[in-house]
């Protein structure tokens, strides 16, 4: 592999550096994604704080029409957990050099991500909330909508990673893009837990 020290003698302890993206998954982009996740997590924290502030400040029942039905949301939670397992499987398979397994796992994660979007739309249609009337409807749609937007971006990322892995552009020696994309997907899935607990569990707690 070409590197900048070709033709020069290496001194004791020196190593030739690889050319191109670092094989270490903890590349600079990984830390960059971690910083992005920190800011996006702050966004969700603000939204959840606002929801609970509105709930405490509300002069009427909260939620106004009682706790929302959790069937679709629970199914979506299961779908996201399964997709996390698929992405994790893809990441570990790629690091072991099993590109075919990684490709299959990414395809599974892609399907599950699209399924999440479909179920979320069905959930919206079944709830009958109105974003323009009252703060509860607004918070419900903003919380779930912002999360859905993050999921949509995550689906695009997984689609790109699937294509690149399928084309053998990523592999055991170039796993950083998959690790970085996987980190984002883990965040998206993790955020679903407090959102689900806030919207569908907390109303039952009084």
């Amino acid at each position: 592999m070409a590197d900048a020290t070709m033709g020069q003698e290496l001194r004791p302890g020196e190593e030739r550096l690889p050319v191109g993206s670092a094989a270490d998954p903890r590349a600079s982009g990984w830390y960059g994604m971690a910083m992005l996740i920190t800011t996006e997590a702050s966004l969700f924290a603000y939204l959840l704080f606002g929801y609970f502030y509105a709930a405490v400040s509300s002069q009427s029942d909260w939620p106004p029409a009682g706790p929302p039905a959790a069937g679709y949301a629970l199914a979506n939670l299961v779908v996201l957990v399964a997709s996390v397992a698929a992405v994790w499987l893809a990441e570990t398979s790629l690091r072991r050099g099993e590109a075919r397994n990684a490709t299959a796992a990414l395809f599974g994660a892609l399907v599950l991500g699209l399924l999440f979007i479909l179920i979320q739309v069905l959930d919206w249609r079944s709830q009958g909330q109105d974003i323009t009337r009252g703060s509860y409807g607004a918070y419900y749609y903003v919380l779930t909508g912002v999360h859905l937007a993050h999921v949509a971006v995550g689906v695009l990322i997984i689609a790109a990673l699937f294509a690149w892995t399928r084309m053998r552009l990523l592999g055991q020696r170039r796993p950083a893009p998959l690790s970085i994309g996987a980190l984002y997907w883990y965040f998206v899935a993790a955020v679903e837990i407090p959102i689900f607990a806030t919207l569908y569990v907390a109303p039952h707690l009084g």
Binding site: M1, A2, D3, A4, T5, Q8, L17, P18, V19, G20, S21, A22, D24, R26, A27, S28, Y31, L156, A160, W164, R168, L169, L170, G171, Q172, R173, R174, P177
Partner: protein
Amino acid sequence: SRHPLWEDRLDEGTDRSTLGKGMVLDKGRETIATTVLDGEPDAILRMPGDTLAPFLLTVAMALCVVALLLHWWGTAAFGGVCAAAAVIVWLWPQAELGQVEPAPASEVIRG
């Protein structure tokens, strides 16, 4: 700079900058990638060439956002799709930049 003027004023040791050792990085547009915490050289990065992808991305994002403001949902969706495409094209792994998984040795021999 090659020889910082402040270097001799620092009483941090006897080491001084030199052009006589270290990486030359003369094989095109190259730069050093370092580890995040310690700043140790980690890899040689080849810088990409000129591309329209960033400009097209900004145009698509502007179209998407303006369309959202005007409630032109179809146009906003189109802008969003174009923006996504521009990002994917921009981030596409390039073999000449060392961003692509090397072919296995067996394939190289057969080729």
